[in-house]
């Protein structure tokens, strides 16, 4: 058990520390790298909980796909760090005010939070240990009980994808390669052999 607790505190501490670094790092690329570290350590926490499927999906989706594209964009930004620091003092009062209001609101919400007495009964029965792997367990609820919600989530993602394509698709005059046309082209279509008589041009 000691090893598990040590691992938990290690993952949790690194997650928190890198979370803080995400917002405090000067360089945005460093921020994204710390964000990736935070994702990675949360995956470690999932493994400790015994949710290895969720841990792997977290790494594949967030670290392997989302954060790569994020890093891709941030790397290409041309940022002047001196200019960034200039604005800091002017925006500090407004930023501090917004932060303060948020903290007060959060305290009000969390302070009045009470768990409903029947909430514990609403949660689904956990699978008996050893009877199912958690991949199968998730599959069984996802494709039966939550089937419509699952499909709706897929549809929402599809709409987002179509939206992104619509926003970026422009029909500019770009020379595109048409492999079919290239392959079907015969010598007769483009070449003409002429017999040039000596002493006169064509």
């Amino acid at each position: 058990m000691i090893v598990q607790s040590l691992a938990f505190y290690l993952f949790a501490a690194v997650t928190l520390a890198s979370g803080v670094m995400v917002i405090s790092a000067r360089n945005p690329v460093h921020s994204v790298l710390f964000l990736i570290l935070a994702f990675f350590n949360s995956a470690g926490l999932f493994v400790l909980l015994g949710a290895e499927f969720l841990a792997m999906i977290l790494v594949v989706v967030y670290v392997g796909a989302v954060a790569v594209l994020f890093l891709f964009v941030v790397m290409m930004l041309d940022i002047n760090f001196a200019e960034l620091r200039q604005g800091f003092m002017t925006y500090l009062p407004v930023g501090a005010l917004v932060g303060l209001i948020l903290v007060v609101e959060l305290l009000l919400v969390v302070g009045g939070w009470a768990v409903h007495p029947t909430a514990a009964m609403m949660s689904g029965a956990p699978t008996a240990p050893g009877s199912l792997t958690n991949t199968e367990a998730i599959g069984q609820v996802l494709y039966t009980r939550y089937f419509y919600l699952f499909q709706a989530a897929g549809l929402i993602l599809l709409v987002a994808m179509v939206g992104a394509i619509v926003l970026t698709l422009r029909h500019r005059e770009v020379r595109r390669q048409s492999i079919g046309r290239q392959v079907s082209r015969r010598a007769g279509d483009t070449l003409e052999v002429k017999d040039v008589p000596t002493g006169s041009g064509i």
């Binding site: 690329v29 290895e52 792997m56 999906i57 594949v60 392997g64 796909a65 790569v68 792997t133």
Partner: protein
């Protein structure tokens, strides 16, 4: 104290010994893969290849390693030092940790986890970070261009690799790598899923930045791509990581499609040979394919590479996934 010894120290020592038993042969294999590559390509081009250091040039990889070790590590003035040094370490570490779940034989595996194939997929999707960080931290044009190419290429081909893996999983009904091998006792998946096997092999070439998809490091346009600014051991770590990744992708191809440690036919002369040797032989066969392709094909153009990934492989793998699922349901062949 005895409790501490049997409870913690002994298991830790055993695990460390197991890790060393995997990593040391792996590094040796990486060294001799570079030798094999030079010899194979030399033969295909009717040259001799390395033949000076040691008998048949067999000590050449060792000499190369020692040379790199003794060189000076140069960090460019404009580079982001921490990220610059971390990038090769990440590449190298990621290429080693994936081996934890690879089964070398019946029950010979370091961590026999339930989500083995997802773990492999997750680790291989992380490989892009070493490249991207190296390209960005070098603070130089060509490495940056190489890193951008590599990131786009690896993300694109991962999609089709994912669909190929899902198709295999449909036929197995488990994410455990040992179960995937055992499901191929009657027939290797390379036979019924031949198109997926071919696509997986081609995507593996793209995923490991190998010829003909080695655009991230194409020497004729980008010097050496993302590791142009690297020297000595930092370069060597990239090199080792890349070759270890090639062996890893060959191992995944073997496990998914060529029956892992299983002999081709379960009859007398074949099943005398132990499983790990079959596994190694199949990996070597796939690796020979990698080298053969490099010696044979010219480099792809970048837009053609993207077209192949998104407009050919992605629709085709999706279609074949549907066909496989349909056949399995129609004939009631779904694994229980």
């Amino acid at each position: 104290m005895a409790d501490f010894w049997s409870g913690y120290a002994l298991p830790t020592a055993i695990i460390v010994a197991q890790i060393l038993a995997i990593v040391l042969p792996l590094l040796l294999a990486v060294a001799y893969l570079t030798y094999a590559e030079r010899k194979v390509i030399a033969s295909m081009q009717m040259r001799r290849g390395p033949n000076v250091v040691g008998p048949f040039g067999l000590l050449q990889p060792i000499a190369d390693g020692v040379k790199l070790l003794f060189k000076e590590t140069i960090i460019p003035a404009g580079a982001n030092r921490v990220v610059f040094v971390a990038a090769p370490m990440i590449t190298f570490t990621l290429s080693l940790v994936a081996w934890a779940v690879i089964p070398f034989g019946e029950g010979i595996v370091l961590a026999d986890i339930n989500v083995g194939i997802l773990y492999l997929f997750a680790i291989s999707s992380l490989g892009v970070y070493g490249v991207v960080m190296a390209g960005w931290a070098s603070n130089s044009k060509y490495p940056f261009l190489g890193a951008l190419r590599s990131a786009a290429q690896m993300v694109s081909y991962e999609v089709s690799i994912g669909f190929v893996m899902v198709t295999v999983l449909l036929c197995v009904g488990s994410l455990n790598l040992s179960d995937i091998v055992n499901a191929q006792r009657t027939i290797w998946f390379a036979v019924p899923l031949l198109p997926m096997f071919v696509i997986f092999f081609i995507s593996a070439l793209a995923e490991t930045n190998r010829a003909p998809f080695d655009l991230p490091e194409s020497e004729s346009e980008l010097v050496a791509g993302y590791f142009s600014e690297y020297s000595s051991m930092t370069f060597a770590l990239f090199f080792l990581g890349e070759y270890a990744n090639m062996i890893l992708m060959s191992a995944s191809t073997t496990i998914l499609f060529l029956g892992g440690w299983l002999p081709p036919l379960d009859i007398a002369p074949f099943n005398w040979i132990p499983g790990p040797i079959w596994f190694g032989a199949k990996i070597a066969l796939v690796l020979f394919g990698f080298l053969w392709v490099r010696a044979t094909f010219p480099r792809y153009r970048y837009d053609q590479l993207m077209r192949l990934g998104w407009k050919v492989f992605l629709p085709f793998t999706l279609f074949w996934l549907m066909v496989t699922a349909g056949v399995l349901v129609a004939f009631d062949w779904l694994p229980k």
